[in-house]
Assembly symmetry: C2
Homo-oligomer: 409 residues x 2
């Protein structure tokens, strides 16, 4: 039951010159399931990525890092669902490399020019033969218009495909920014989420791509959480095909650089929020905004303490303004010298807490009214400084338990 | 549905000379509920406590700290359920002080000789008049044998009262150690839990009591977690009435000191584990043991990452050996230089992971067999050093969501 999220209309997803996408049914875990996606990138495309900080990072994440570090021009991306190829040791690495080599052979490029991605169950052997057998069908399916199909092809427990697209004009030329993402559980990206791909045909100095993808992740995927579980496979890739025909952007602080950055941020944020809106069992979309921190780090401590508290999340599920649970989470967030007597809290427009205690004007029915909404903003002011942050999360419902108690069966 | 936990037989709870306990129905939140407990301590009793590190600590916790710091001889404890008196600002502090003053007047002692404790809903005004009205009945109920009744009187979402008792002999004299605890949700004590009380009639130098209560908390309440939510009211008190008649213990490392410490540790651990066994919605009791850490701190990081992961906890609920989720939690625990290729994992006697990947001899049915048990030990070896730790937790079930979505209604 996604929260205010619809499947994207394929017609709304602008093709990006230089990118084609194809999918296939490889039967990685289950038959008759679109579980293999290939993205082909034309020559001259620049790629940058950010990956999970989980120390148990998956084999494909390790191979992606190697291939990007090698500096070869990336020409293809291959993504399978049904198996994360994580917790698989040296054998998993070999299988991820073999996937790249097989696709490279079919495409006539070097193995280092292929980036592999996997998502699904952890600690099971990747059936690489099935992926190899599915590659020709995925290649035959390559089309510039297949962004919507690709968004479907990377789904696991997602109930809807996730995609977003924006257009802007640079130097009189139309520039497209289109991306897809997936994820509904094991979502607390620490760098990027499993999986996000954003492509643009903008012409941009390749050296600007890494800071841009890092900044985009920090404004989007690194601000969402569903269950606090940082995945072994989180990956977020920014692709610039350089084909829009305008003069190259050589600085992100130029007017054109700022315009492109804004579009990339917006597409990334929509994709990240789509993951929360489709969070496992989610019935509510919640923005947690912390103001008045000394620095962003302590704002994040408080925001994530609230966003991860099972007690807070079940209260949202119940539409129960049991808001003391939010104060308790702020209190244990790890801000050791926090002065509780300064804290202010609002629930949307309702002033709930002042000077660390219940506001005398606060009425239960006002809290109740807001808690019944499907979109809610919790705003806590720490009154210690000028830093602020916002993270997005969802509630914890019976369906979250059902989905995760049944996931493998 | 508590896991392997029975209500204590009152006959098994040894009275502690110098301690009497009485309960009453004060109607703090609901009528016809035993919600007020008074514990009377005879002259000469020494008391030490540890309290929540939550910066939003409750008013009674602040008053306890003040009264203990003042150094007056503690003569009474007063505990109410139904209202936590937390997130209540200056007004909450005044109400906690008034509770102490009223009981002190009735007992003919000073207000500083009373320690107040509250547990229940956060951010609601404490109905101190109802507590005052209930105090005479609680005082009239005082008996040395009322440990079981007191354990009932401090319950909130607990389904069973929690108490434990041990006897030992020091210098030919029988020494009693008896305690009670409560708690089933908002349980991730950081110092002590809400609420634990252990009393002994041992004769012990008062200066030894604070290190003993701290050590006991670290071996018991500070090692359990249900939902990762550190309460605003966690409190753990150790009471020594000095009446057993043996020569005073002047060192915890003496033979007698070690014997008493062992008994206090055991009673504390049983009380702490009882809280997990009665965890909200719990169907399984899980010990998470981390070996091979460089220090205890990193062992705790890994243990709590596993114990707090909603994905791990729902897999236990489902008896599903989806054990890659445990590896993922170890990976994001925050041990930044962890080498995944060294990790070993056992589930009870089953060797699941070797060198960071699935053990070739591991069979799904072996994992399944252990996961179906009501008591399970997860053992992860980080292979980095000699440090070790164990924490105790429970699974995450539909009933946890139901209980916390309905708690206030």
């Amino acid at each position: 039951m996604p929260v205010n999220l619809q499947a994207p209309n394929p017609l709304d997803l602008a093709p990006v010159a230089g990118v084609t996408l194809g999918i296939a049914e490889a039967g990685v875990r289950k038959a008759n399931r679109k579980d293999l996606v290939v993205v082909r990138l034309e020559e001259g495309t620049a790629v940058a990525g950010v990956f999970t900080q989980n120390r148990f990072c998956a084999a494909p994440v390790q191979v992606c890092r190697e291939h990007l570090a090698a500096g070869s021009a990336v020409r293809a991306i291959v993504i399978n669902t049904g198996n994360a190829n994580a917790g698989t040791g040296a054998d998993g690495l070999a299988r991820a490399r073999r996937t790249c080599a097989s696709l490279a052979t079919l495409m006539g490029v070097a193995p280092e020019q292929v980036l592999p991605f996997s998502t699904g169950v952890i600690m099971e052997t990747l059936p690489v033969e099935r992926i190899e057998a599915g590659l020709p069908a995925a290649l035959a399916d390559l089309q510039p218009s297949h962004w919507g199909r690709a968004a479907e092809g990377i789904m696991t427990t997602d109930t809807l495909p996730k995609a977003a697209s924006r257009q802007l004009t640079i130097g009189g030329k139309t520039v497209n920014v289109t991306g897809i993402s997936k994820g509904a559980g094991m979502i607390r990206p620490n760098m990027a989420t499993m999986l996000g791909f954003v492509a643009t045909d903008a012409v941009i100095a390749p050296g600007l791509l890494q800071p841009l993808v890092k900044a985009a992740a920090d404004q989007s995927f690194n601000r969402v959480t569903i269950d606090g579980d940082t995945s072994t496979n989180d990956s977020f890739l920014l692709i610039a095909t350089q084909r829009a025909g305008h003069a190259a952007i050589t600085s992100l602080s130029s007017e054109e650089g700022q315009a492109l950055q804004a579009a990339v941020f917006e597409v990334s944020r929509l994709l990240a929020q789509a993951i929360v809106r489709d969070g496992e069992g989610a019935t509510k979309f919640i923005a947690v905004q912390i103001d008045g921190g000394r620095d962003e780090a302590e704002c994040k401590l408080a925001a994530y303490a609230i966003a991860h508290s099972p007690l807070v999340k079940t209260a949202f599920f119940a539409s129960d303004p049991n808001l003391g649970r939010i104060l308790a989470a702020v209190g244990y967030a790890g801000i050791t010298d926090l002065d509780q007597s300064l804290i202010e809290m609002h629930l949307d427009d309702v002033h709930v807490v002042t000077q660390g205690g219940r506001h005398t004007a606060y009425r239960e029915e006002d809290g109740q009214r807001v808690m019944k909404q499907s979109e809610i903003t919790v705003r806590v002011d720490l009154k210690r400084g000028a830093a602020t942050t916002t993270v997005w999360t969802c509630d914890l419902s019976h369906d979250y338990v059902s989905i995760n108690a049944d996931y493998r069966s």
